[in-house]
Symmetry: C2
Subunit: 430 residues, 2 copies
């Protein structure tokens, strides 16, 4: 594709530091071309940014979105992006001429409706603002893992094909597994609890599947779950501390690794306080102006609590703990001092529930009793519950939805805008 | 669980550095108990190793595998693991007494057949040698990402629920997707190629699904695939260079992060040469003593080539490239100088195919022609192939199977031994 005597590749962002007169080679896409009578401009886009290429005389440039190689000379020009442009270029198309995209990617903003954005995801994600959104996601994943790697956690991968759907039978996808039914895991819950018995502290980043029968701006049929589980906890406050550190690590990684994306999107990245503000569920209901017998927080309550945390604690984050035991997952640990409340919690980020977590039951007898109290059959839970006869220490954990995190961070109106290739009730492609 | 005036937790591995007379608090599992008439020994196991606890007088210790907390005093004793033991302890069970495990985990080796190993995975993975195996996997994942993060790659997550199965219709799992059929992705192939058009260089670590109808020691129905794809390549040798760096990063991370596991298992960790030895497929057939018209390498050929690489290049790794175009995936790029051979390659690691890779077709017209030549219908491939009208640069990539890598590294006879919770024709639990 390139001959040996060409200079090494220069990325668009590096061009700013190249002295005038230096031969350069760029590779990327034709972001925009403007052909005037005496001079043409080619804006080249690569993974680092944009570069201006100036062509004297009349020339036919490849159409927008065609991958090209440009070999020319760097020249300072205060009007060019980064202050340096490329002159006297040869421009070689590296593939066939690209078809005209469904949206004009060179405009500062993608001015298009959601269906177009999603139908043409393979090109709309090329827009610098869209790409910046995913860079926040990738940086967050990096920060998540870096924090846990530094704290003695082991990365695990649990199976997504499972024998039964214990968490909630209603919203599970069924698979034809060599002629018998299997299900897609709604979470790695069972496995991460077992794995605490092996590694003490584990995390997993992977897809989870919810056959959500409703169509909302905050639910997906498949999303990326950031799961954490840790053993030898005293109670759920140890789990909340772990969550705080993970959030701080994610924010730090965004600044370090996606600073350009933050700048481009003009984001207000949250500050993670040393200690997250914590409210008991009862207090939360009161602050949200909800009746004292509400079993859960509604979206409007979450919004009110988000505003309260901002006003009272100057915090984008708020922990609500002590949800009613009867209304949380059966494996949630009750508060021993008042078992109607659980050692579970949610993290509210800017008025939206982002994370659910809890200390879990760890004794076999407690599982058996809880299933009985709830009137659940033992059989479907047998293999899960039996694991707690093998010695599982007090433990807890949480799960962060990647897309919800990025959606809230960027203020997206719909979670689909920040998902590379979303899956929902109606959408299975691209 | 612990009161405030207790010392902070000491991990088993740290105990070696604790001066005699220091109060310590350990948490872990009863790995073994031996109750003699005047003294009892408790070997405690935590995520870092083993610690010896000595109890004077007669005492009933919790049974093996019960999680416990031990508070006592560190005392030097050359006979203890690490040279330091804990005396005058109080031992508190942190959960109910554990049932007797199916296998004795305190023995130096898990002397059990594969069915027991897998049926009781929740406890058999607690054995130090088993846990060490997974630590190799976790370290490898770390090294994989670290190498790519340092080279301008973007982590991506592509959907596992897909509309059609383009790679091979025969071995795909069907899902009931809100009443219509969907499939579990056999690889992120399509998505990673599209994503090159967005980010230039991408990687993904995630599950892939193969409805393998046969039962072999090296196939799973679900495994973890380490996928890489990079744009603006000259040919597949750029892809091979990327693979070499990834392997070197994985090996480096094993030494850095799983040194104890390497030692415990007595592993011979491979050295990754600066340049991987490369053979053309034709030469490989000759060296393996296979007929010149063989379309692929059989396992016996791979073993012979592994031995050759070891003898001729002192290398555990060998690249075979230039496989016959007609016998590789339709998206493989032919060698322009002799199109019957492709710009594809396999990596053979110690005589077993571990990685497949290639430069891919990047021009729409080439896809259309190839489908025609192979007699494939256009319709099932339409959404895939149409993406190449949008400007995709020359690109290529590869995929490493995590379990195969760890299996070969540890010399496991069956890939199921190194998979946390394997899935196959017969097994869907635990």
């Amino acid at each position: 594709m390139t001959s040996g005597h060409h200079p090494p590749r220069t990325h668009a962002r590096e061009l700013a530091h190249v002295p005038t007169g230096t031969p350069v080679r760029l590779q990327g896409w034709v972001h925009r071309r403007r052909e005037l009578s005496a001079v043409s401009f080619l804006i080249l886009r690569d993974r680092t940014g944009l570069a201006q290429v100036v062509v004297k005389g009349q020339i036919e440039l490849p159409p927008e979105e065609t991958p090209v190689e440009v070999v020319g000379t760097a020249v300072a020009n205060p009007q060019a992006p980064g202050g340096v442009e490329v002159v006297s270029p040869t421009v070689i198309a590296l593939s066939d001429h690209a078809d005209t995209p469904a949206v004009e990617l060179w405009r500062p903003r993608l001015d298009t409706g959601l269906p177009t954005l999603l139908d043409h995801a393979a090109t709309t994600w090329r827009h610098p603002r869209q790409r910046a959104v995913w860079e926040l996601a990738a940086a967050s994943l990096h920060g998540f893992r870096a924090t846990l790697d530094a704290s003695g956690y082991t990365e695990v991968h649990s199976p997504k094909l499972v024998e039964s759907a214990t968490e909630s039978g209603a919203s599970v996808f069924e698979v034809d597994y060599f002629g018998r039914p299997a299900y897609l895991a709604q979470s790695p819950q069972f496995y991460k609890q077992i794995l605490v018995g092996i590694f003490e502290r584990v995390y997993e980043v992977g897809p989870v599947f919810r056959a959500e029968p409703h169509d909302t701006v905050r639910h997906l049929a498949e999303y990326v779950s950031l799961d954490v589980e840790l053993g030898f906890v005293r109670d759920h406050h140890d789990v909340i501390d772990a969550l705080r550190d993970v959030l701080a690590g994610m924010v730090e990684a965004i600044h370090e690794r996606a600073g350009h994306a933050v700048e481009l999107l003009g984001l207000d990245v949250p500050r993670v306080p040393e200690r997250l503000p914590v409210l008991h569920f009862r207090e939360a209901l009161e602050i949200a102006g909800a009746p004292a017998d509400e079993p859960d927080l509604a979206p409007a309550h979450e919004r009110a609590l988000g505003a309260w945390a901002r006003a009272e604690h100057d915090s984008d984050f708020l922990i609500v703990h002590g949800y009613p035991t009867a209304h949380r997952a059966f494996y949630s640990h009750p508060d021993p001092e008042d078992p109607q409340w659980s050692r579970s919690f949610d993290l509210i980020f800017r008025g939206l529930e982002l994370v659910s977590g809890a200390q879990r039951l760890h004794r076999y007898a407690d599982y058996v009793r809880t299933l009985e109290e709830r009137g659940y059959l033992y059989a479907p839970y047998a293999s899960y519950v039996e694991a707690f006869r093998r010695g599982i220490p007090p433990h807890g954990g949480f799960a962060i939805g990647l897309e919800r995190w990025v959606g809230r961070l960027t203020g997206a109106a719909n979670i689909r805008e920040v998902t590379l290739f979303p899956r929902d009730l109606h959408r299975l492609a691209p």
